[in-house]
Symmetry: C2
Subunit: 387 residues, 2 copies
């Protein structure tokens, strides 16, 4: 099993990118990563793309070929693979790229993620997103993602005493981080009062508890660790790359206040990396809704089950806390172009470990973690990185 | 790079499966492969699923989680990954599964493919399939796949003297093979006259030049070659697993009568396997249209460019010919559930190499090849197998 490192990263501005198509933004992220890594196009031997639903959003499947084409790599006939696990598609692309390098089949590999969600052709974005849930047993009965996560939130509040204020604090913190991140979709501070005044989506979740619809793309370039220094003075080593599944429908789970896929993927990744949760210096976790960040902190093993809300309240996860979480602004404020999110998380952790996160840089970041979830937890990916 | 072998295979009946949903047929194929391989569910460490467009066909993305769920593997939290490259999604799933085993991250891995195309919710199947072409530069101008392949056929006929009869002979041969295959969608003989009397789709292609809409699923189980004998007396070794891309749009290609992605993937696979095209005993190639089989024979290096039609006419590719092609009936007669096709090809070659292909068994098959194409050649995969 060859060790794998990140030698370059790139990311577009996240937001409503009316100025650019899916092909434009993914090329922008890819070229930016290539420039960052000092590799030449001829050295790239494979491409992985995470994308959830271009088939529904822009009526375009076969995104692998499309992106190889617009990146100029189709002329070199570089193999290009689209992977999909709903909102975990980006993390999945990263893991498949890691496996491709680890296998020895490929050396220099790009993992990209992209989603174009703001000009949907036919239907609504919410309907396309609902296809990440169990269409037959959830959606046809009216459940959307805010509704599913609202049920999780209500049970978490009742069972563990998590408060409405603690939910807001996740959003307030992530919006603060977003203000420090030039690529973030929302660069504005919010307050608990503002969250509470925003429209109710699914009780107890208001609009400001939900991640937005976003256009965006991100890319990272991988190489075998023993070749990485050739391209890059500050490669970031991937210590763990793990993935787990769970039932597609929320109601089939053992317990809806724990995402078992996160628990399993995290345990496996910590085992692979041979480190403990307490050694993580910075993490990007999947805060598709505020309650999801609280679950993540618990399920990744950073705090005991039920203590996630309290940890946020006590500032543990703030920029100057013991374990800064979502320094990018997270899905909440940086934005959530579903296929791109998992790669953007790796982009942010790479910047932090290289000391290039500027206004949101944390001190002495040595080990980072990313956590990417598909649907209501049918898929989870955890990656652990070190400088 | 660990060597990888197939230790079990399964496939559903192909056709109009009104009796079964996507989740039913993929579970059917998976259980059949598990039974064939003698592995237990607990030993399976990863799952790859090729599926083109469930998002559009049945409004369901996140197929990886769905299939892990319905296979009983979500309870074990087995990582499950959907890959997509249009009609090459099955071959792509096989290759990613090969990489996963070769990487050392996983030992026993299932590669499955599935598509449910006959009860489409919203829009038409043809429209969903068109999303495998370049939506902006081909589909919006009215091009469908029969039209794109018709243009290829016309130029091939003009430049190389390929005849209308030779196109028919591909269909006639594959229908004959389909008659010998109990899982085939069409088990009926046809003639050149019948092809010519069938409705014109896009000149020169008639209905009987086109592969049909099909429901179906297939699965193969992989293991490291050094563990394969533990499960299976007759493992089939994967000697080469290669993939190439090309421009998404046909009009951007160097030459539309050659699929360069096929040429590149084949060259790489023959190199990896260290064998010559002349050593292949049996092949399943991507005959989405009759002209596509003729291109494939040429682009894979079995005959010179322009000699594909003649090779078919002279019987080279028949069951008793020098190189039997599409003994399953091919996409044309066995059917073409787009995400499943690449895995069904591996299923057929495995049966041939194990001597279990019954009425369509060829003598002394030692080395086989599969060839799977996405769109009009934006993606191609070539696998080489030996007994």
């Amino acid at each position: 099993m060859r060790s794998v490192s990140i030698i370059g990263v790139g990311c577009t501005k996240f937001g409503e990118r009316w100025d650019a198509s899916l092909r434009d933004i993914v090329a922008e992220a890819g070229f930016s990563a290539i420039e960052d890594s000092n590799v030449s196009g001829e050295e790239i031997s494979a491409l992985y793309v995470g994308n959830m639903s271009a088939g529904r959003f822009i009526e375009q499947e076969h995104i692998g070929s499309l992106i190889a084409d617009y990146a100029g790599l189709a002329r070199l006939h570089v193999p290009s693979t689209r992977v999909e696990a709903a909102c975990a598609s980006g993390g999945l692309a990263l893991r498949q790229a890691v496996l491709a390098v680890a296998s020895g089949y490929h050396d220099i590999v790009i993992a990209a993620g992209v989603e174009k969600m703001t000009d949907v052709s036919g239907g609504t974005a919410a309907d396309a997103l609902a296809s990440a849930a169990d269409r037959e047993w959830e959606c046809f009965f009216g459940a959307t993602f805010p509704a599913l996560y609202a049920m999780i939130a209500r049970l978490h509040m009742r069972r563990h005493g998590t408060t409405r204020e603690q939910l807001s604090m996740v959003a307030v913190k992530n919006h603060h981080h977003g203000c420090l991140n030039p690529i973030a979709q929302y660069q504005m501070e919010i307050t608990h009062e503002k969250v509470m005044k925003s429209p109710m989506v699914a009780d107890p979740l208001h609009v400001f508890d939900c991640s937005p619809l976003t256009d965006g793309a991100a890319a990272v370039i991988l190489a075998p660790t023993d070749m990485a220094k050739k391209y890059c003075d500050t490669p970031v080593k991937i210590l763990g790359s793990c993935q787990a599944s769970d039932t597609l429908a929320l109601h089939d789970r053992r317990d809806i206040t724990t995402l078992d896929a996160t628990v399993c993927a995290a345990r496996a990744a910590f085992g692979q990396a041979r480190i403990e949760p307490g050694q993580i210096d910075v993490a990007e976790v999947h805060d598709c809704f505020t309650i999801a960040e609280i679950l993540a902190i618990e399920d990744l093993g950073f705090v005991e089950k039920g203590q996630g809300g309290k940890a946020v309240e006590e500032g543990m996860t703030s920029l100057n806390g013991k374990l800064p979480i979502n320094t990018s602004g997270g899905l909440k404020a940086c934005g959530h172009p579903v296929g791109a999110t998992g790669i953007k998380q790796a982009y942010e952790i790479t910047l932090q470990l290289r000391g290039e996160a500027k206004k949101r840089q944390i001190d002495d970041a040595e080990i980072g973690l990313t956590h990417n979830v598909g649907g209501s937890g049918g898929t989870a990916l955890v990656h652990i990185f070190s400088r």
